[in-house]
């Protein structure tokens, strides 16, 4: 049986003030990396994606272009578009997301005038207090 899953969560909230394809790419990338969308799954067509989410078909097409560029999805002519079965590509994507999350963490610390270590300590103290 072919693996199936929703490409995006049913109630995915679109922010109309930011490029929509970027929001789609980001969300789908995360869902592939965490396994919510299984490797080898067939993706809906550009038309289906656009109609289901009420967005311009160009937005859907661009979403797929971006994901294809990163190798996370693959199009086979005449067959459709599928999530890659290449585990290395998925691992790399997971790593990239993780690294970005840590980078964001460092940036948040810097913006508060703290080191990452200081911020971590605050977190530990806080959780300790809550447990006590």
């Amino acid at each position: 049986m072919e693996p199936t899953a929703e490409l995006l969560p049913q109630h995915f909230q679109i922010n109309p003030s930011l490029p929509i394809y970027e929001q789609f790419v980001e969300a789908i990338r995360r869902r592939i990396v965490c396994g919510a969308i299984p490797p080898g799954m067939r993706l809906p067509s550009v038309r289906e994606l656009a109609a289901a989410r009420g967005v311009n078909p160009t937005t859907a097409a661009r979403t797929y272009q971006e994901l294809e560029r990163s190798g996370l999805i693959v199009t086979y002519r005449g067959q459709g578009t599928f999530v890659t079965r290449d585990g290395d590509i998925i691992t790399d994507a997971r790593r990239a997301i993780a690294v970005q999350a840590v980078r964001d963490f460092f940036e948040a610390a810097a913006s508060l005038g703290l080191t990452a270590e200081q911020m971590l300590n605050m977190y530990r103290e806080d959780s300790h207090d809550n447990e006590a």
Binding site: I14, P16, S17, L18, P19, I20, V46, R47, A50, A51, A52, R53, G54, V55, N56, P57, T58, T59, A60
Partner: protein, 243 residues
Amino acid sequence: MTTKLELSLQEPASVAVECRDLCLTIKKKAILDRISFQIPSGSLTGLLGPNGAGKSSLLRIVAGLAQGDSGTVQLFGKPAGPERLGELSLLPDRSNLPGWLRVDEWLHYAAGIYPDWSKSRAGELLSELSVSPHTRISSMSRGEEARLQLLTCLSRTAPLIILDEPFTGIDLLSRERIAAAVVGELADSKRTVLVATHDIREMELLFDRLILIGGGRIRSVDDVDALRQSGQSVESRYREVFA
């Protein structure tokens, strides 16, 4: 205007609609005042503006149902006019379908009127838009009748689709179905769609191009992706322009 320049640099050959200095005066009042814009082929353009902005007058002239006093309107590089009606499918602001007919009778009739009618497309749209073929038109709800009107409009294969206020008085689910049908149309056939509406939130995710009109004048022409790149939504742009 920078927008004009950008367009002509991008795709000089594929302009679906072009207005240049279009003016219309009725009883000494300027309804349209030097309207100029271009709509690229394959785009879904939103024509937005407050009531009385001139949207319907403009659409009627583009469709060839009325004439301006001066200026030019071109469809696919040739002048607009009544003889071009076969190249566009218009959903008018207010229209009446024959209430004494059943849906299937109406569609049979429409297939006879329009040379570019696609029977298979009409069949698909019946289920996409959830219109029952055996209902008598006079017994339909407003939302159902609006969906039937859109169905009639989209069952033609004309390269330009013009929708004037497709959502007025229509419930949310009908709106979603209508929006999805319009998307399907655009994705399948590379047709050009021009929609006049003041329901910004229903449509803003669909537009790739935005024309704001107020007081008979073009207030701005924007690429919607470029707006979002700069952190603006269609709605915030609208507020900015008309505030």
